[in-house]
Point group: C2
Chain length 298, copies 2
């Protein structure tokens, strides 16, 4: 069947290179899972790892990473600019190919149970894997961070974890979930003025009335105005719809798009969707892509 998932565990260590390497090594050793990318941020004191492969192998790799992080990171000594509540802070699963969101939810739940049972770490399920509506939003789950949760977990019934003890040790707590792939998409405008980029960002983003799965900011990058966006569900809010809306808003300021960029990885389907839209391929099926046929037939 050739199922592929991505898992992007975030660890609360972005400074001690040896610790980061040991955690990554624990995940790299799992056959069938591939560590594609490690990005460490010193200010955040945090590392974001991308693992891709077969579902069970990726879940095993994630478990090994969580276990090693729990041994090597003491949250009582962790300081950093990014909100966090655990040594392995968040572990999202993302469907890439041949697996549904529901399949990723099952993976997340199974991993959560294992992390709780074998490592004694409190686990909160979030986003598509959430067991309660108020845990869908990660920010809500992580409220108060490590220090706050440590106090509240035993006192506040609302903070009882989905798996594991209502008690926070030095490894903190871990949020495990499932979500669509996130696409970092930036649009550059032919102006050195940040004001229109900010106004356009307000227009297209969900939080101020725009498209449901768009987060956006207006920035100046090397002196050029940029609408910087995260597309959190490209199937429901596709790239082309976002770009065309930005383009239309920019035109109302007499501005145009000089170029765009995707930062990091994105699924092939997101580009197929854009090609299908602009080429007006009404009856197109991704089954017509040669490489897809080959993979399915294997």
């Amino acid at each position: 069947l050739n199922q592929i998932v991505e898992c992007i565990p975030n660890f609360s260590e972005g400074r001690r290179q040896d610790v980061i390497e040991e955690i990554v090594a624990a995940m790299s050793h799992v056959a069938g899972a591939e560590v594609l990318d490690v990005q460490s941020n010193v200010d955040h004191n945090r590392s974001v790892v991308s693992i891709v492969g077969e579902p069970d192998a990726v879940a095993e790799a994630a478990f090994q990473g969580v276990a090693r992080a729990a041994e090597l990171i003491d949250m009582d000594h962790h300081r950093g600019g990014h909100p966090r509540m655990g040594a392995a802070d968040v572990v999202p699963f993302v469907p890439v190919r041949g697996i549904s969101m529901e399949g990723c939810v099952k993976l997340a739940r199974r991993l959560g149970e294992r992390v709780a049972t074998e490592l004694g770490i409190p686990v909160y399920l979030y986003e598509a894997a959430a067991s309660r509506p108020d845990r869908t939003n990660l920010a809500e789950v992580r409220r108060g961070e490590y220090e706050g949760l440590k106090q509240e977990i035993a006192l506040d019934p609302d903070r009882v974890p989905d798996f594991g003890p209502a008690k926070v040790g030095k490894a903190g707590a871990t949020a495990i979930g499932a979500r669509p792939p996130l696409i970092a998409f930036n649009v550059y405008l032919n102006t050195t003025d940040v004001a229109p980029a900010r106004a356009i960002a307000r227009g297209v983003r969900y939080s101020s009335g725009g498209l449901r799965f768009v987060k956006a900011l207006g920035l100046l990058v090397d002196g050029q105005a940029q609408v910087s966006m995260n597309l959190t569900d490209y199937r429901s809010t596709p790239i082309h719809r976002v770009l065309e809306m930005v383009r239309r808003e920019a035109a109302s300021y007499g501005l145009s798009v000089t170029h765009c960029e995707v930062v990091g990885l994105l699924p092939a389907e997101a580009l197929f969707d854009a090609a299908q839209f602009y080429l007006q391929l009404a009856g197109f099926s991704t089954n017509q892509v040669l490489e897809n046929r080959l993979i399915q037939d294997e």
Copy 2:
């Protein structure tokens, strides 16, 4: 390295289903090669097969198909509406992933040598695999078809095959080559009049002064005007450039594009190119496609 080629052998049998099945079976049995598609045309008395997989496996499958066709098809009794000169008439190799055109040329030459040596069939190399400029064009190689070649091969030094005897048996001769993937791309216009479709086809196609790797015809399909095209090298003449030219020509008649279609298969890269163009992704690399990363790392 994960190299993938496509081979699209054309056989001179489109009527006797049992014969077609035996030829396809001979190719299907080769491990590492996959028969994706078989299209038989009764009027042409011809079948077009698509095989995809690792280079050596695909070449082996092609050889098995050529060998079985030589046993089962007698060109002295073949009649059909499509030009042909052999039981296995043409065998093009197409690079799909991780292999260059030069790699496909080598495959074509090796297969040509083997078909000549083991089966005693005269082989002409064509398109990118051609040994002489006048054999690049398949129509030139196949001039006079089976019946004409049978007379000329021993008399005309220009018709000496690249491999094998200068003598045509009941299996005829086979053209073996390498070429880019061909994309069948049709554009529909909002009119029931075929005239503008024909004029647009003349404008965009190579043969009457248009884009180098475009063949085009204007047709009526279910009462709607269609510009029917074959894009013979999508890297040099990409889909989006063709569509935008058709769109511009149509606008000069006050017409617009209702929708488009790709008939059959196309490589993922052709759609990535279109997405990159319309999304203005100046610095984009296909290395940013999640699935590509995974495949390369395996």
